[in-house]
C-alpha cells in the first residue's frame, strides 16, 4: 500500500485584513473555510498523515474562538486516525511563554515544540515505519542545528518539516531571522521529503532528478503578491518508485492583480466592461487593478470603482496612468485660456525640475489639477 501524505503550510489563520476594508472580516472567514477544505480533502483522500509546516496561526495567541474552530477541525483527523505532524512557524512562534502550542490538545498531535531536534519521532503507518524530523522556529537558534535533521540510519520513510527560507527563491529578500537554508543543505539531510513553510508561493525543489522538498505556498492568498490559484500538496510514497507530488487547488477566493494599459480602452465604460471580463468567477475574486499607460481622460476612479465593485467581493484600483503625452494635453496647450496657460507653464516647470521625486510630485499634482478641470467642466 502506498503511503499518502498531505502537506500544507502558512495558513495564517486569524490574520486581520484592515487593508481590505469592509471585506476584511469576511476574508478571515475565507481563511477558515479553506482550512476546513484542507481537512475535508485529507479525509476524502484518506491520507495517512498530514504535515503542517508552520504558521498554522497568524499569531502565537489566536483567539479562543478561532482556536476552538481549528481544534474541532483537527479533531476530525484525529477521530479518523490520521496523525497530524506540525511545527510552529515565524508567526505562531514559541517565544511567548503562553504560546498556543502549550495547549494540551496538541499532545494528540506530533508537535515539534523544540527549536533543536534531539531525535526523530517514530510513527508506524500501514507497516511503513515513518521517522519525522522537525524543528520549531526560534529566531535565536542558529542554522547549524539543521544538521540535527540528518537522516538516522534506520529503515523506513524519513520526512522533515521546516519553516525557513530557501536561498534563491524568486522575488524574495531573505533575512537572517528567516532561517536561511540552501538546497544543497537540504539535500545533504538525505530525507525522503521535506515539507517546507514560510515562502508564500508554490515551489518544488529537486536534487539529482528527485523531488526533495517543496513549498505549498499559502492555501489562501494573503496579499496580492499571492495571486491566482493556491494549493496543498498530496504526496504518494510507493516502494521502488519516485515520490509523486500532486498540487491540489484549495483556495476559497482568488486574489487577482492585473495591470491594464489604458491605451486600448477609450472610455471608462469600456474599461469597466473589460475589467468585468477579467475573471469568470467574479464572486470569488478579490481584484486589484493597476491602471497604466496614457489616457485621454483623467480617470474618475470612484466612478469606475462604482461600476465594477458590485460584482466582486473586493476591488481596489490603483491609478498609475499618465496624461502627459495625451492628445488632449497637446490641444490644451494651444488654448488661450487659464487651462492652456497652465499646461504650458506646467510643462516648462516640469522640464526645469531635475529631481525625479520632485518631478513625480509635480506630475501627480498636474494630473490632479487636470482631473479637477475635467470634472468641473463635466459637472457644469
Amino acid at each position: 500500500m502506498p503511503l499518502k501524505v498531505l502537506h500544507t503550510a502558512d495558513l495564517h489563520l486569524g490574520t486581520h485584513f484592515p487593508s481590505l476594508g469592509n471585506y476584511g472580516p469576511e476574508r478571515e472567514k475565507d481563511f477558515l473555510t479553506t482550512f476546513s477544505s484542507i481537512i475535508k480533502l485529507s479525509l476524502d483522500q484518506k491520507v495517512d498523515l498530514v504535515l503542517i509546516a508552520g504558521d498554522l496561526f497568524d499569531s502565537p495567541h489566536p483567539s479562543l474562538n478561532l482556536f476552538g474552530t481549528v481544534k474541532a477541525e483537527l479533531e476530525k483527523l484525529i477521530d479518523a486516525n490520521i496523525p497530524i505532524a506540525l511545527i510552529p512557524g515565524t508567526h505562531d512562534n514559541i517565544m511567548a511563554s503562553d504560546h498556543i502550542y502549550r495547549h494540551p490538545f496538541f499532545e494528540q498531535t506530533i508537535l515539534f515544540k523544540e527549536p533543536i531536534l534531539k531525535e526523530p519521532k517514530f510513527l508506524d503507518l500501514k507497516e511503513h515505519p515513518i521517522y519525522l524530523y522537525g524543528m520549531a522556529y526560534h529566531p535565536d537558534v542558529p542554522g547549524e542545528y539543521l544538521k540535527n535533521l540528518k537522516r538516522r540510519d534506520m529503515p523506513g520513510i524519513h520526512l522533515g518539516l521546516l519553516h525557513g527560507s530557501i536561498q534563491g527563491s524568486p522575488d524574495w529578500k531573505i533575512y537572517a531571522k528567516d532561517f536561511p537554508v540552501s538546497i544543497d543543505e537540504l539535500a545533504s539531510l538525505n530525507l525522503d521529503y521535506i515539507a517546507l513553510g514560510h515562502y508564500h508561493n508554490r515551489m518544488v525543489y529537486s536534487h539529482e532528478g528527485k523531488i526533495i522538498a517543496s513549498y505549498t505556498g499559502t492555501p489562501e492568498g494573503k496579499r496580492f503578491k499571492e495571486s491566482g490559484q493556491r494549493y496543498v500538496h498530496l504526496l504518494e510514497f510507493k516502494e521502488g518508485s519516485p515520490l509523486e507530488l500532486t498540487p491540489v487547488p484549495i483556495n476559497t477566493k482568488t486574489l487577482l492583480e492585473k495591470e491594464i494599459d489604458l491605451f486600448t480602452f477609450p472610455t471608462q465604460t469600456s474599461l469597466a466592461k473589460e475589467i468585468l471580463k477579467l475573471s469568470p468567477q467574479k464572486e470569488k475574486t478579490l481584484l486589484r487593478i493597476i491602471l497604466k499607460g496614457v489616457t485621454e481622460n483623467i480617470l474618475d476612479i470612484e466612478k469606475i470603482y462604482s461600476e465594477i465593485a458590485p460584482y466582486f467581493p473586493h476591488v481596489e484600483i490603483l491609478d498609475e496612468t499618465s496624461v502627459m503625452n495625451s492628445q488632449w494635453m497637446s490641444h490644451l496647450e494651444k488654448e488661450n485660456s487659464i487651462r492652456g496657460f497652465f499646461v504650458r507653464r506646467m510643462k516648462e516647470k516640469m522640464d526645469e525640475v531635475k529631481d525625479p521625486l520632485e518631478k513625480e510630485l509635480q506630475v501627480a499634482s498636474f494630473k490632479e489639477i487636470l482631473f479637477e478641470f475635467q470634472k468641473k467642466a463635466e459637472l457644469s
Partner: protein, 606 residues
C-alpha cells in the same frame, strides 16, 4: 468665422430641417419646447460629438439615421461638417477658391486615434480650442446665467464674479483641491492647523502605536533572551556547585569513615595479635603435649616379654641345666627384683608424664579451638583487607573541602535555586503574551504603505492648489491687462451715459466708476449695469479665447428675467457686439426683433 447653415437630417424632433444664418444678430424665435435647446446641442454635437448620453437626440421618426450638418464660413473658406452620430464619423469638406478637399474622420469624443487628432486640430484652428466644455462655457450664455440674486450683491460677490471671467471657475477648483487636501490631513502649510485629526493623522497615530508595540516586543524579546541566558547560566552554576557540594560532602563522609575504619582496624589488629598469641600458645602447648606424649615411658613389651620368657626359660634352664633350685630361686629373685625395680621406675616415670600431660591438656582445654581460632584470624585478616580496600576508596574521595565550605556551598546553592525559580517565573511572566514581530511588522508595513500613499496624495493636492493659485495670479497678471482694456472699451459703449471715467484695475479687474464726478462702489451699481459689466466681461473673454477669431456667441435668452430698462441696455450691447461677431439669440419673445428692427437682424422662427 460665422455659421452659415445648420441642416438637421435626422436629429431629435427635427427631420430634414435647414436653418440658414447670417452675419450679425440671428434671433431664433420659438415657443417653449419648440426645440431651441436642441438646436444649440446640435451645434455642439456636430462639432464635438456626445461624450455622454449620445442617444439623447436620437431621431424620433427614423432612429436608424442620426445625422446633422453645419456650414461655416471662415475667411472666405467654406467648411461643411457633417456628423453621423451612430457611426461617430465626421465628413469635413473645405472649399476655397474653387478648390475642394474632403475628409472623413472617425471622431468619437472618447478615446484617442490619429484621425480624431487630425480632426480636433482642425477644430482648434477654427475656434482656438477644441473642447465641448470650453465651447459651452464660453460661446454659450444660458438662461438666468447673468442673473445675480439680490443677497449676493456684495462687493465680494461681484469681485468674485469678476474674477471668474474665464471659462471655468478656477477659484472653485483651488478650493476643491484644498478641501480634498484637508480631507486627508489637518496640517495646514499656510496657517493654523485644523483642529480635528484627519485620516492621515489617525493613520500616523496607529503607526506610532504599532511602532511602539514592535519596539516593546523587540525589547521584550531581547530581555527575554538575556533572561533565558541568565537562567541557563544559573542552571550551570547550580550544577557546578551541586557537583562541588557533593564532592565536599562525600569527602567529609570519607574522612569520617576513614577515622572509623582506622579505629576498627586497630581493634581488629589488636584482636588479631591476641589471637595470634593464643595460637602460638596453643601451638606451644600442643607441641609440649606431643613431646610429653612422645616422652611418656611405655610398658616395655620387650621387658615384659623378656620377663615372661625368663619366667618360662628359667624352669627350662633349670630342668635342662640342672641348676639347683637355689640358684633358680636366686635367679628368680634376682630377676624379680630387677624387673620389679624396672617396673617401678617405669611406673613412676609414667605417672610423672601423665601429670604433665594432664597439666598441658588442662591448659589446652581453656584455650579456644585452634580451628575456630584460625577461622577467626582469617576473618579478621579478611576484614582488615576489606577495610584497607575501603580506605583506599574513601581516600580517593577525600578533597580539600571542609565543613565550612560545605555549609557555604549549601547556603549559596539554596540562594541560587531560589533565584533560578524566581527568574524562571519571571521568564514565564514576561514571555506571556509576547507577540510575533513578524505579524506586527507586516501590519506596520501595510499601514506605512497606506500612510505613504496618503502623505504623497496630500502633498500632491497642496502642490496642485498652490500651483494653480500661482498660475491663476500669473495668468491674470499677464492676460488681464488685455481683458481690462477690452472690457473698458465694451463697457464704455454701453454705460457711458450713466458713468464717467470707467476703468478697470489691471490686475484685479476691479472696476472704478464715477457718477456725477463721484466715485462709486460696484455694489451701488444697478442690476442692469452689473449685467452689462458681466456681459462685457464674457465678451472680452470670448475674444481672448478665440485669439481674435471673432467667435459667434449663443444666447439662450439670458435676459428673460430682466426688467424693461435692463433689457434696453442689453440691446445696445447686442448691437455693438453684432458688429464684429455672429450672435445667436434663442428666445420665445419677438420683442428683440421689434425693438431692433427686423431689417437689422436675421429672424428665424421655429
Amino acid at each position: 468665422m460665422i455659421f452659415k447653415e445648420l441642416h438637421l437630417a435626422n436629429f431629435g424632433k427635427f427631420q430634414n430641417k435647414t436653418l440658414t444664418f447670417k452675419k450679425g444678430l440671428n434671433i431664433i424665435v420659438g415657443e417653449n419646447e419648440s426645440g431651441k435647446s436642441t438646436l444649440f446641442q446640435a451645434f455642439l454635437g456636430i462639432l464635438f460629438g456626445f461624450k455622454q448620453d449620445s442617444k439623447r437626440y436620437l431621431p424620433w421618426q427614423n432612429p436608424t439615421s442620426y445625422k446633422a450638418r453645419l456650414a461655416l464660413d471662415d475667411n472666405c473658406t467654406e467648411i461643411y461638417l457633417e456628423r453621423d452620430f451612430l457611426e461617430d464619423t465626421v465628413s469635413f469638406i473645405q472649399k476655397e477658391n474653387n478648390h475642394m478637399s474632403s475628409f472623413q474622420y472617425k471622431a468619437s469624443p472618447l478615446g484617442r486615434s490619429a484621425e480624431r487628432e487630425i480632426y480636433l486640430n482642425k477644430i482648434q484652428d477654427l475656434f482656438g480650442f477644441c473642447e465641448p466644455e470650453i465651447f459651452k462655457h464660453s460661446l454659450f450664455i444660458e438662461q438666468r446665467s447673468l442673473h445675480l440674486p439680490p443677497q449676493n450683491q456684495t462687493a465680494t460677490d461681484v469681485k468674485q464674479m469678476i474674477s471668474h471671467i474665464s471659462e471655468l471657475k478656477y477659484d472653485e477648483i483651488c478650493s476643491r483641491l484644498e478641501e480634498r487636501y484637508f480631507e486627508i490631513t489637518k496640517k495646514n502649510p499656510s496657517g493654523l492647523d485644523k483642529r480635528n485629526d484627519r485620516i492621515l493623522e489617525d493613520l500616523q497615530k496607529q503607526i506610532l502605536d504599532l511602532e511602539e508595540k514592535i519596539k516593546k516586543t523587540r525589547e521584550n524579546q531581547e530581555s527575554l533572551k538575556k533572561l533565558s541566558e541568565k537562567i541557563t547560566n544559573l542552571k550551570e552554576t547550580i550544577t557546578t556547585k551541586e557537583i562541588r557540594l557533593k564532592a565536599v560532602t562525600e569527602s567529609l563522609i570519607a574522612i569520617e569513615q576513614l577515622a572509623k575504619f582506622s579505629k576498627k582496624e586497630t581493634e581488629i589488629k589488636d584482636s588479631l595479635n591476641d589471637l595470634k598469641k593464643r595460637k602460638a600458645i596453643i601451638e606451644r602447648l600442643t607441641e609440649q603435649l606431643t613431646q610429653i606424649q612422645k616422652s611418656k615411658p611405655q610398658v616395655n613389651r620387650l621387658s615384659i616379654g623378656l620377663f615372661i620368657v625368663s619366667l618360662f626359660a628359667l624352669p627350662m634352664i633349670f630342668f635342662s641345666a640342672n641348676i639347683s633350685i637355689f640358684w633358680l630361686i636366686l635367679l628368680f629373685i634376682a630377676f624379680s627384683v630387677l624387673f620389679g625395680q624396672h617396673f617401678y621406675t617405669q611406673k613412676k616415670a609414667q605417672s610423672h608424664f601423665q601429670l604433665q600431660e594432664m597439666r598441658v591438656k588442662s591448659q589446652l582445654e581453656v584455650l579456644p579451638d585452634p580451628h575456630k581460632l584460625d577461622q577467626t584470624i582469617e576473618q579478621h585478616q579478611k576484614s582488615l583487607f576489606e577495610i584497607e580496600a575501603q580506605k583506599i576508596e574513601f581516600k580517593q574521595k577525600v578533597t580539600d573541602g571542609n565543613k565550612a565550605e560545605k555549609e557555604s556551598l549549601t547556603q549559596t546553592l539554596h540562594q541560587l535555586r531560589e533565584t533560578h525559580t524566581i527568574e524562571k517565573q519571571n521568564y514565564i511572566y514576561f514571555a506571556k503574551g509576547l507577540q510575533s514581530p513578524f505579524t506586527l511588522e507586516e501590519d506596520l508595513f501595510d499601514l506605512k504603505e497606506k500612510e505613504k500613499i496618503l502623505r504623497t496624495k496630500s502633498r500632491v493636492l497642496w502642490l496642485a492648489k498652490e500651483t494653480l493659485e500661482t498660475m491663476i495670479i500669473e495668468f491674470r497678471k499677464e492676460h488681464l491687462k488685455l481683458f481690462a482694456k477690452d472690457m473698458e472699451k465694451t463697457f464704455q459703449i454701453i454705460a457711458k451715459d450713466s458713468y464717467q471715467n470707467i476703468a478697470f484695475e489691471k490686475e484685479t479687474l476691479t472696476p472704478s466708476l464715477e457718477w456725477q464726478k463721484t466715485p462709486i462702489s460696484i455694489t451701488s451699481l444697478s442690476c442692469g449695469t452689473q449685467d452689462q459689466l458681466y456681459f462685457s466681461m464674457k465678451l472680452s473673454l470670448l475674444k481672448h479665447l478665440g485669439s481674435d477669431r471673432h467667435l459667434p456667441l449663443f444666447l439662450d435668452d439670458p435676459f428673460v428675467n430682466f426688467d424693461h430698462e435692463r433689457r434696453l441696455k442689453v440691446l445696445d450691447l447686442l448691437k455693438h457686439y453684432a458688429k464684429e461677431h455672429q450672435l445667436f439669440l434663442f428666445t420665445y419673445d419677438s420683442w428683440y426683433s421689434e425693438k431692433l428692427g427686423r431689417n437689422n437682424i436675421h429672424e428665424i422662427t421655429l
